[in-house]
């Protein structure tokens, strides 16, 4: 029961900060939120110990909605998958909270920031701890809401307010499918509780639904609808457009929500629903293809972006693609493993870039996120530079670091997955090459060479304060060492400890490949990682004029990538504008104003016109009225006489 406190503590912190923050707490808000989330972390460790000992905790607090045969509770399920997520969420949150103390200092919305962050942690914990789909949906929507608040944190900037709104509405498209999926689950299984739905999944294999006369496999429909939600939340094609814009939020938010935790909720959800997904090959393949295509698609865009945070954002989209690739190939634990390592190195990348932005901000640098105005920061910010390098090594998959193990496992699993798997492996490996290139490009542009800003701002450059760098160091440890729980059996007997730990929930991942093939895959990924590094080094250190030349040579390609394949513009033209214009011009202007109001006002208008004519008879002279009255009386008398 004490584990109820895990989500509750951040909620209390939120309540205190939002109610009293403005007047009383102000810049001491972190004294409320930071202890709360650290306490949650400690409790989560306790939960981990319990679960590791073999317990599965399932608490039902109370009946939430009861209606007819529909019954859903507020209740928590803490099993092995949940516990891993709990640890990731609470540990990274704790570090980012501490980092925010330094990063957000002096902001006039300081209390608000911590309130929202606490609310987010609460929602995320609800999301991972829920024991039924509706509560999962609750957390799902609530994290979206917090994301909305935090992206639009500096709401006086129009771009920030727009980005928040865009994130929320785009996510709604995904949630639309997700919600319908939940309803379909209820109608199929008669319950929304995990422990009742998953064991019963086998019994509905072969059941079909009639959609417009086509018989469609029920489980496939359910899985695809659920996946819709994941696509929205985890920014996969075609709903990826909100995540890069979400970088309008403060950097700790980008790190926590848009890299480490919230965006991985989709991965978590699909993994959670693995008993359903494994029954539908169609859904699995869809997941895998969407993941693989997203991975390479986002990586190509990241090649040419100049905004430091946007590069990392596209990198996140790409890495999430990897996770879905893994999910789709049935390697659920590999996906969770990558989720877990990714949380550390990506949070680190974001926070480190935040440190850079922070420094430039204090140096009154006018274009604090544009890499073209940076350079040579290595000598001013050695710690940041160091952790940045570590994170990059990790993400590009240099052997021994966290990213290497998880990414390699995904690629290896993909390679084993038949023809489609081989194709996806090829996509993934290519994406890895691109990843290596843009990650190093980022480092070279930011930290190497000469500072390209003004001299005035250069004078103010200095390393960030310890409250920022200490969390960076902690995360760096994670970025290096987090992968050691999943060393492949190839190198170490019982090395894949995380896979074994998650096996009761996510199933065993059995491979059918030879050692030679495995070494080949391994070698390929190491080769592309080094290859990408090498190319970046050539282009940005050895021959700095080269990028411009290439850019000029491949102008159309560059334009295509720089403008993100014009997806935003496409949506704007095909969905947003028609809806707005249609609403204003057609529906309001014609249907409502002309047709409906026309009929409604037309009838009285007709009567009105008629009575205006008729009104002339009303002279106001009573004798005329008398005359008409007498005439009427006469007619009545006449009819009575002659009808008799």
């Amino acid at each position: 029961m004490k584990y109820v406190l895990i989500p509750l503590l951040p909620l209390i912190a939120f309540a205190i900060n939002i109610l009293f923050g403005r007047k009383y707490i102000k810049d001491k808000a972190h004294w409320v939120s930071v202890p709360a989330v650290i306490m949650s972390f400690i409790l989560a460790v306790g939960a981990f110990m319990d679960v590791k000992a073999g317990k599965v905790i399932n608490i039902n607090l109370y009946d939430w909605i009861v209606s007819g045969n529909f019954n859903v509770t507020i209740g928590f399920l803490i099993d092995r998958l949940t516990v891993v997520m709990l640890l990731v969420v609470t540990s990274i949150s704790s570090l980012i909270f501490i980092y925010s103390v330094g990063y957000m200092r002096g902001d006039k919305g300081y209390y608000r920031f911590f309130a929202y962050l606490s609310l987010f942690v609460f929602s995320m914990l609800i999301l991972v701890m829920a024991n039924n789909f509706l509560l999962l949906y609750f957390g799902w929507e609530a994290v979206g809401l917090c994301s909305y608040f935090l992206i639009g944190f500096w709401f006086d900037r129009k771009s920030a307010a727009n980005a928040g709104k865009k994130a929320f509405v785009v996510n709604r498209f995904g949630d639309f499918g997700f919600g319908l999926g939940i309803i379909l689950i209820f109608l199929t299984f008669g319950s929304l509780e995990y422990l009742q739905v998953f064991p019963g999944a086998h019994s509905i294999v072969g059941q079909t639904l009639n959609i417009f006369g086509h018989e469609v496999d029920t489980i496939t429909v359910i899985c695809l609808l659920l996946f819709c939600g994941a696509v929205g939340k985890s920014a996969q094609i075609p709903l990826h457009v909100w995540l890069p814009d979400a970088m309008e939020g403060p950097t700790p938010v980008s790190a926590l929500i848009h890299a480490a935790t919230m965006v991985t909720a989709g991965v978590f959800m699909v993994a959670r629903c693995n008993p359903l997904f494994v029954l539908s090959p169609v859904a699995m393949n869809t997941v895998a293809v969407v993941g693989g295509v997203t991975a390479i698609f986002a990586a190509t865009i990241a090649l040419v972006q100049n905004d430091i945070k946007r590069v990392i954002a596209y990198s996140t989209v790409s890495q999430l693609g990897y996770m879905f690739l893994a999910l789709g190939m049935g390697a659920f634990s590999a996906a969770i493993f990558h989720l877990y390592t990714h949380a550390y190195f990506k949070a680190l990348l974001f926070l480190a870039s935040g440190s850079v932005i922070h420094a430039l901000h204090h140096a009154k640098h006018d274009d604090e996120q544009n890499m073209q105005k940076m350079g040579g920061l290595r000598k001013y910010m050695p710690i940041t530079y160091l952790v940045f390098i570590l994170a990059t090594l990790s993400i590009t998959g240099i052997p021994g670091l966290a990213g290497f193990f998880s990414k390699d496992e995904i690629l290896w699993r993909a390679y084993m997955g038949g023809n489609l798997g081989k194709f996806l492996w090829f996509l993934g490996t290519t994406a890895a090459l691109l990843t290596a290139f843009y990650s190093w490009r980022l480092i070279y542009m930011t930290f190497h060479g000469k500072f390209r800003g003004t001299q005035e701002s250069e004078r103010h450059l200095r390393e960030s304060s310890p409250v920022i760098t200490v969390p960076l160091m902690f995360l760096a440890v994670g970025a290096v060492a987090a992968g050691w729980v999943g060393i492949p059996p190839l190198f170490m007997e019982h090395g894949d400890r995380i896979g074994a730990f998650l096996a009761p929930v996510l199933g065993h991942s059995e491979g059918h490949g030879t050692h030679a093939e495995e070494f080949m895959v391994l070698g390929a990924s190491i080769a592309v990682a080094l290859g990408g590094w090498f190319i970046a080094h050539r282009m940005y250190i050895k021959r700095p004029e080269l990028p411009q030349k290439i850019m000029d040579k491949f102008q159309p390609v560059h334009r295509l990538l720089f403008n993100k394949y014009w997806v935003d513009e496409l949506y704007d033209k095909t969905i947003v504008q028609p809806l707005l214009k249609g609403s204003e011009k057609v529906i309001l202007g014609i249907v409502d104003a002309k047709i409906i109001e026309g009929v409604v006002n037309g009838v009285p208008a007709l009567i009105g016109a008629f009575s205006r004519r008729l009104r002339r008879i009303q002279t106001g002279i009573f004798s005329y009225y008398g005359l008409v009255m007498a005439l009427g009386a006469l007619i009545i008398i006449g009819t009575m006489i002659f009808l008799k």
Binding site: G620, I621, S623, Y625
Partner: protein, 100 residues
């Protein structure tokens, strides 16, 4: 003997003349006089019925009709005076406040 119907017809004729006067005269005073004429026409028939049916009720009714006629004339003429103060006319077709 004079048959009852003669009286009734006489009453009807006088009533119709009164009605004509009421409907078409412009002068309000004559319109009032026409009303009195119609009332009296009715009275004639009432008294005639009373006589021929050997019932006293008809006469009693005439009594009340005269009462009401007196009241009506008094009020009507008072209104006329009150109205005349606001708009010095007694012509029916110049009084068209009903038109609003």
């Amino acid at each position: 003997m004079v048959p009852l119907s003669w009286y009734i017809v006489l009453s009807a004729i006088v009533f119709s003349i009164g009605m004509f006067g009421f409907l078409v005269r412009r002068n309000l005073i004559i319109i009032f006089l026409s009303i009195e004429l119609m009332l009296n026409a009715v009275n004639i028939s009432l008294v005639a019925f009373s006589h021929y049916l050997q019932s006293i009720n008809g006469q009693i009714l005439v009594f009340f009709v005269i009462t009401v006629a007196a009241a009506e004339a008094a009020i009507g003429l008072a209104i006329l005076i009150a109205f005349y103060r606001n708009k010095p006319t007694v012509e029916a077709d110049e009084i068209n406040l009903l038109k609003g």
